[in-house]
Subunit: 198 residues, 2 copies
DNA sequence: GACAAAGCGGAACAGCGCTCCGTATCGTAA
DNA sequence: TTACGATACGGAGCGCTGTTCCGCTTTGTC
């Protein structure tokens, strides 16, 4: 577990350029497909989305768990890096927070899928979860602080608490049309936005 | 949920005799296959074990959840009826208890499979769980009492507690050779058997 | 430019869930 | 007892899946 490169995946030095390209494409494609079709999405669909053959997937990620874990780390890194970027690009700190949470919700699909994909290896899962907290809680806190400072939201909410709340809202969303976590998350956000005093 | 017939499944009056026969065969076969291959066992395997065609399975149980639920109820009833029977047939109340628990452990595979097979319909699951408790706790208590009265085991153990303990021991036994719940259950039983005083 | 080596794609195979319909069996009324 | 609908049965067949394997392409190097 040598968390070396700050920009996410280790570039696998010595690898050919096309191999590195494909690996990145695969990670992005898999992340997107997981959101729309769940972590059990057909391999073919992921390959097609990435524009590669199936053999390429199996070469890079021999088992489904390998792929899910890789996507997970990739997403954690992407989410962590998106925080500061959004803060400068979005029209307000609150907008940045909302967009970041949107990314975060997408990511939770992978995170929850990870739990089932790794039911045997709980120690490995714990390590990944620690990595998740280490990288994302500070980013969320930064976004929260900025929004508070700008007067967009009320103070007093902790990053860990918010992330955990959102995470819990997103449990059990197996394409049940009666339960849309995003609606509830949006509610949470609006509650954050409006100060309680008249 | 009209729990009418004390002997388990409602005989489905008006149905043809062979249909009733096949339904029973299917329930027994599925229960057996679940134990050896899990609740995700191929439909073909269940059909073959029951000696029927696949069409027959789908006619009786349109979805996998239907089959699992039916097996579940069938098993609860079988387990409940086995208690008194074992008490008269086994060589001692303790032997009866042990044999009954063996049945119970088999049954737990179905019960745990049920949870995943019904992840959407939690209210239906609760009803089934209540049925499970209503029928089996008294039977277990009866076996326990008999063994205590006979001096086979120490007193003071409650049926619900024992059943729940065994249930928990049987969590996560997905063909992992390093974890055999039956060994631990046997240990529990031996602990029950031997009074602590010298 | 030439040439290994590394990597790629997708045809091919095996196994699965599920459907459909010709056939066999059952219950019943004559 | 026989005859005849109604009911239920079986399994071939279809479409989808994971996984492997190998001929072909791309890459980096000299």
């Amino acid at each position: 577990m040598s968390a070396s490169s700050p920009s996410g995946e280790v570039p696998a030095r010595g690898k050919r350029a096309d191999a590195v390209r494909n690996q990145q494409a695969l990670l992005s494609a898999a992340a997107a497909v997981f959101v729309t079709s769940g972590v059990d999405a057909p391999i073919r669909e992921i390959a097609a989305t990435a524009g590669v053959g199936m053999g390429t997937i199996y070469r890079h990620f021999p088992t489904r768990a390998d792929l899910v874990v890789a996507v997970y780390r990739h997403q954690v890194d992407a989410c962590a890096e998106a925080g500061p970027t959004l803060l400068t690009s979005a029209e307000s700190p609150f907008a940045a927070l909302r967009q970041w949470i949107d990314l975060f919700v997408d990511f939770l699909v992978t995170k929850h899928g990870l739990a089932t994909a790794m039911q045997s290896d709980s120690s490995g899962f714990d390590a990944l979860h620690a990595y998740f907290l280490d990288r994302l809680v500070p980013v969320c806190a930064q976004l929260l602080d900025a929004a508070v400072t700008a007067g967009d939201i009320r103070p007093g909410t902790h990053a860990y608490e918010l992330m955990r709340g959102i995470g819990n809202l997103c449990i059990g969303r197996d394409n049940d049309p009666r339960y849309d976590p995003r609606r509830l998350v949006e509610l949470l956000l609006q509650g954050l936005q409006r100060p309680q005093s008249p």
